[in-house]
C-alpha cells in the first residue's frame, strides 16, 4: 500500500481506478480519462495533487542558497508571489528534479517538488546547506489541488476564503498570493488557465466537495499526463533524468547562464556539454501513420535510429498520436517511429501541440 492523500476516501467513493504512483495510491481516472481531458480543455477539472511536496526555504541566506541550488535564477523574482520553473541539477548537469519556486517575501521561498523524488530532493537540499543560514521545511501538513480549464476562475474563485478572492482574481499568470496557510498560484500543468491551491490538509475536503458541487470535473493522473503532453510540458523521469540534463530535454530556456558569475550546481558540466558536444535536440512528433507513440520507441530516419520517444500518447484534442522525443540534431522535419517492428511515418513539430483549447500545430 502506498501513501494516501486526505482525499483518498473521496476518490474511492467516486469509483476511481487507483494506481500506485511515486509511492502514492492515486486516482488514474474516475471512469473515462478522455472525458476528463476534454472537461479541462472545455470547462474545468480538478486534480488532487496532494502527493506533490511543498518545501519552504527560509532564512537570511535563502536567496544565495537557491541561486546555487537551482539552474534558473531566483533573483529574477522581484515581486512577492512571482513563481519560476527550474531544474535542480547534480554536479554532472543531470536533473535531480524539476520544480516551481515561489518567492513569498524577503528571505522566504517555497518550492513544490515531485512526489516520487521528494525524499531524494530534501536530502539533496539539506546536503547543500553547508553552514548557510537556511531552514528547509517540508510542508507535509498541506494538501494541494489543481483547478484547470477555461472555467476554472469562474468556478473556483467564489469557493476560496473571502480574503483570497480579490487577490486571486488579480493574479497574472505565474503569480501566487497567500493568506495564512493558503497559497493560490495561477499555475498548472495542462496548458489551460487555472490555479494550483495549497491549503491545510484539514480543509481540503470541503474545497474539493464544493468544487465538484459547482460542476468542476474530478480528473485523475491519466488526463493529467495527456494534458501536459499536449501542452508540451516535460515529465520528470521520462523526458529528463539524472543522466539527461536540461540542454537535451528542451529546457534550455530554464537555465540562467546570466549573470556569468552565478555558480549554480551543474553549471560547469552544462558549459562543457555546450562547448564539446553535438547536443541532441528535443522535439515534438506528430504521427502521420497509424498507431500510438509510446516512450522508448526508436525514432528513425532512412531506417537508421536517430533517437527515441521520451513521452508519447494519444492526443484527445487533436485525435492524433503525439510525442516528445530526443533526436540527433538536424534531422529535418520527416522521420519514422518504430512501432511493433514497423516504421510508421511521423512529422517533426515544435511543441506545444495544444494551448488554451486550440491546436498549435498543423495536422
Amino acid at each position: 500500500m502506498g501513501s494516501r492523500t486526505p482525499l483518498f476516501p473521496e476518490h474511492e467513493r467516486l469509483g476511481a481506478r487507483i494506481v500506485p504512483f511515486g509511492g502514492w495510491d492515486m486516482p488514474l481516472h474516475y471512469g473515462s480519462q478522455l472525458d476528463e481531458h476534454h472537461a479541462v480543455r472545455q470547462q474545468a477539472g480538478v486534480f488532487d495533487v496532494s502527493h506533490m511536496r511543498p518545501v519552504d526555504i527560509q532564512g537570511a541566506d535563502a536567496l544565495a542558497f537557491l541561486q546555487r541550488l537551482l539552474a534558473n535564477d531566483v533573483a529574477k523574482l522581484k515581486q512577492p508571489g512571482k513563481a519560476l520553473y527550474s531544474c535542480m541539477l547534480n554536479a554532472d548537469g543531470g536533473v535531480i528534479d524539476d520544480l516551481i519556486c515561489y518567492y513569498l517575501g524577503p528571505n522566504r521561498y517555497r518550492a513544490v517538488v515531485n512526489a516520487a523524488t521528494a525524499d531524494k530532493d530534501l536530502a539533496w537540499m539539506h546536503a547543500c546547506i553547508q553552514g548557510a543560514s537556511v531552514g528547509i521545511n517540508s510542508r507535509d501538513d498541506l494538501a494541494m489541488l489543481a483547478v484547470q480549464g477555461p472555467q476554472a476562475r469562474a468556478k473556483a474563485v467564489p469557493l476560496l476564503p473571502e480574503a483570497l478572492r480579490e487577490p486571486v482574481l488579480a493574479l497574472k499568470p505565474f503569480f501566487a498570493t497567500e493568506q495564512g496557510d493558503w497559497l493560490v498560484g495561477r499555475t498548472g500543468y495542462t496548458g489551460e488557465d487555472g490555479f494550483e491551491i495549497m491549503l491545510p490538509a484539514a480543509e481540503v475536503l470541503d474545497l474539493w466537495r464544493a468544487l465538484l458541487a459547482a460542476g468542476v470535473v474530478p480528473c485523475g493522473l491519466g488526463a493529467r499526463d495527456t494534458l501536459r503532453l499536449e501542452a508540451g510540458m516535460n515529465l520528470y523521469g521520462q523526458d529528463m533524468t539524472e543522466e539527461i540534463g536540461p540542454l537535451e530535454s528542451g529546457l534550455d530556456w530554464t537555465v540562467a547562464f546570466e549573470p556569468r558569475e552565478r555558480d549554480f550546481i551543474g553549471r560547469a558540466a552544462l558549459e562543457t556539454q555546450q562547448a564539446t558536444g553535438e547536443l541532441d535536440q528535443f522535439v515534438g512528433l506528430l504521427l502521420t501513420g497509424r498507431g500510438v507513440l509510446r516512450s522508448h520507441q526508436p525514432v528513425l530516419v532512412d531506417d537508421q535510429p536517430v533517437g527515441e520517444v521520451t513521452s508519447g500518447g494519444f492526443s484527445p484534442t487533436l485525435q492524433r498520436s503525439i510525442a516528445l522525443a530526443r533526436v540527433k540534431p538536424g534531422i529535418g522535419d520527416q522521420c519514422a517511429v518504430e512501432i511493433r517492428g514497423k516504421a510508421v511515418p511521423a512529422r517533426v513539430v515544435e511543441p506545444p501541440f495544444v494551448r488554451h483549447g486550440k491546436a498549435r500545430i498543423a495536422l
Binding site: 488514474l28 480519462q33 491519466g222 498507431g291 500510438v292 509510446r294 494519444f314
Partner: protein
Amino acid sequence: MSSIPTELKYTESHEWVKDNGDGTVTVGITDHAQEALGDLVFVELPEIGKQLAVKDACAVVESVKAASDIYSPLAGEVTAANEALDGAPETINDDAYGDGWIFQLKLSEPSQLDNLMDAGGYEQLLADED
C-alpha cells in the same frame, strides 16, 4: 461488476468467442478487459485471409494507457475484421460484446471450441485474479 454473457466462450487472455454455428466464430475482448484498459484510442485489425494458430498475437488494441495484444482464441482463417473500429475504437468500450467485435475466424478445427471456458469458468478466473 463486469458483464459476462452466458452464451459466449472465453479465453484466459480476456477474449470472448461467439460460435456463429456455421464453422465461424466472432472474437472480441471482454467487458472486464475494456474496463481494465481504459478508453481505447486505436485498434490494429488482423488481415483478412490470414491463417492463425491458437494464441497467435493477431491484433492490437491501444488505450490511453497502453498497448495490448489480442490473441487468436482458436486456429483458423480470418474472414472478417471490424473496419468500423478504425474510426471509432471507443465502440469497444461502449459495446464490447456487440458492435465492438474485432474479427471473425473460419475454424480449422471446430471441436477446439470445447477447449474454451464458459461464462462460469471466466467468472471464476476473474475472481481468482482479484
